[in-house]
């Protein structure tokens, strides 16, 4: 499993946790600010993950020297 998807999932889950904790309002101001900063980092990270993936549709072909990744031929609609 690639690192990317795991960390996106974990990041958004952590972000959700942080927001819930913050919304309860039971943290000290210092802790709240720390949480907020972490939350901002996480949203930035998640946004980055959403945008950084490149669209690619390929076909994996078993060749003599192992798998070859080729552009997927255009498919009729």
């Amino acid at each position: 499993m690639s690192e990317k998807s795991v960390s996106f999932e974990q990041s958004i889950a952590e972000l959700e946790e942080i927001v819930k904790k913050l919304e309860k309002g039971e943290l000290t101001l210092d802790d709240s600010i720390n949480c907020f900063q972490r939350g901002v980092e996480l949203t930035k990270f998640c946004n980055k993950k959403l945008d950084e993936a490149e669209r690619s549709i390929t076909m994996l072909i078993e060749g003599e020297n192992g798998i070859v990744e080729k552009e997927m031929p255009a498919l009729g609609q």
Binding site: V19, L29, G39
Partner: protein
């Protein structure tokens, strides 16, 4: 007697066997029939006959082939058998040596399906507990399906619509026919080896039970079971269930549904993220606003606004205490004043001045100012001072007469007579004089002070 050579039974049987064995058709045939007298020998061989309406054929299937039969053959089952015809010399009987046996017709396929399903279920391949969650946002999706046709196109279209920067790797395979199962299993294993996808979709469009049969093959089921990556099985239509569906982590009713399951819509993810962002912002704003308010309240608290309040308050309390104390003191002093005036009145009643007022006098020698208590300390012609209530008299002694001893006039002479007739102190006896002197000393002390000092 026959002229031609005579054969033994064995020779004949051997001859027939050789004859049959040389026949090309009989050495590899498919025979269709219904099983009867089925016996699964402890050795692992199957012995049975197949029949149709008119005839019966003896069959044997040796362990080496019988072991690979995935269903349990039984009497009455219609089957297709591949094998060859040979002769069992001992009994002089030809029979079908079966190498492969398949259920014949849909009903039989269903039986085979159920058998495999039970077998794999008992091995735990379908356990819910071992099913993995799909990744929320897979970075890359492997699709094992035919590279041509509607299925791969639909999957790509739907994934692209949901998430434009999607990453799809198609692993083309045959999805029906003899080679299909092996190819699909190999593709699933290969994708696991490569590890360049987060999730695998195994898909095929709709078809007949026979056409979908590949996805009921054990080798496909095992490859899915062994996959490290989560697998979505999407075979046929909503009503089609295959073994792959049971063993996969998620069953999608159709290939299009698989595409929708595996990838969230980008807008949904963005909304989720945006909403979290907003909530995060609001939460911290609320927190800081609350803290600011608290601070403001603290600043506005009485202690900060009127720092002297406390002091004033304490001073007020002090004043109250002081008043209490003064009151208590004045009560106390008036009590003492009363007591004092009582004492003074009593003292006053004892004062010799009163005695003076009643007509007594105090006599002192002019020369040394000593009290005159006896005639013996005085000589004729001496000057004396006599103190009476309203002044002093200066006198001269003209005559001295001593009282004779033993004469007891003590009772009255005590204070009364001792001083009576200031000029006659001699009349007092010694003891009375001493007592009188006590009083007189007091008076003498008082005399220098303003008159009536005690009143």
């Amino acid at each position: 007697m026959p002229t031609k050579s005579v054969l033994t039974v064995s020779e004949l049987n051997k001859y027939i066997k050789d004859l049959i064995s040389r026949d090309i058709i009989l050495s590899g045939i498919w025979v269709k029939g219904e099983i009867s007298n089925f016996k699964s020998h402890y050795s692992g061989h199957f012995y049975f006959t197949i029949k149709d309406e008119k005839s019966v054929l003896k069959c044997v299937m040796f362990r080496s082939h019988a072991a690979s039969v995935i269903f349990e053959p039984e009497d009455g089952m219609k089957v297709l058998i591949r094998g060859y015809i040979s002769v069992f010399e001992r009994d002089g009987q030809y029979q079908l040596y079966a190498e492969e046996i398949q259920p014949d017709g849909v009903g039989a396929l269903y039986v085979a399906f159920e058998k495999l399903k039970q077998k794999l279920a008992s091995e735990g391949l379908f356990d819910e507990a071992r099913k993995r969650k799909l990744p929320y946002l897979p970075a890359s999706i492997g699709v094992v399906t035919s590279s041509t046709g509607a299925v791969v196109r639909d999957i790509i279209n739907i994934l692209s619509r949901r998430f434009y920067n999607v990453n799809i790797k198609v692993y083309p395979v045959q999805v029906q026919g003899e080679a299909a199962a092996g190819q699909i299993a190999a593709a699933v294993r290969r994708l696991n080896e490569l590890g360049n996808v987060d999730v695998i979709i195994v898909a095929r469009g709709g078809g007949s039970l026979e056409e979908l049969w590949t996805f009921n093959e054990e080798v496909v089921a095992r490859s899915i079971y062994e996959s490290r990556l989560p697998v979505i099985s999407a075979v046929g239509h909503e009503t089609d269930f295959t073994i792959s569906d049971f063993v996969a982590d998620v069953r999608a009713s159709t290939p299009s549904a698989a595409a929708e399951l595996v990838m969230p819509e980008r807008s949904v993810v963005e909304n989720r993220l945006d909403s979290l962002k907003m909530r995060l912002r609001n939460a911290i704003l609320k927190k800081t606003a609350m803290e600011r308010l608290m601070l403001k309240r603290l600043g506005e608290s009485v202690a900060f606004r009127q720092p002297y309040n406390k002091i004033y308050q304490e001073r007020m309390l002090l004043d109250v205490q002081k008043r209490y104390m003064q009151k208590a003191l004045s009560v106390l002093s008036s009590q003492y004043r009363n007591k004092l005036s009582l004492l003074a009145a009593r003292l006053d009643s004892l004062s010799p001045l009163n005695s003076l007022a009643r007509g007594y006098g105090i006599i002192r020698s002019e020369k040394d100012d000593t009290l005159v208590k006896s005639v013996r300390s005085i000589s004729v012609g001496e000057s004396l001072k006599v103190y009476v209530t309203d002044g002093t008299l200066s006198c001269r002694v003209e005559e001295i007469s001593e009282k004779p001893h033993g004469k007891g006039t003590r009772g009255t002479g005590d204070t009364g007579e001792a001083g009576k007739g200031a000029g006659d102190p001699a009349e007092d006896d010694k003891r009375a004089g001493v007592r009188g002197a006590g009083v007189q000393i007091e008076i003498q002390d008082m005399m220098g002070k303003p008159e009536g000092g005690l009143k």
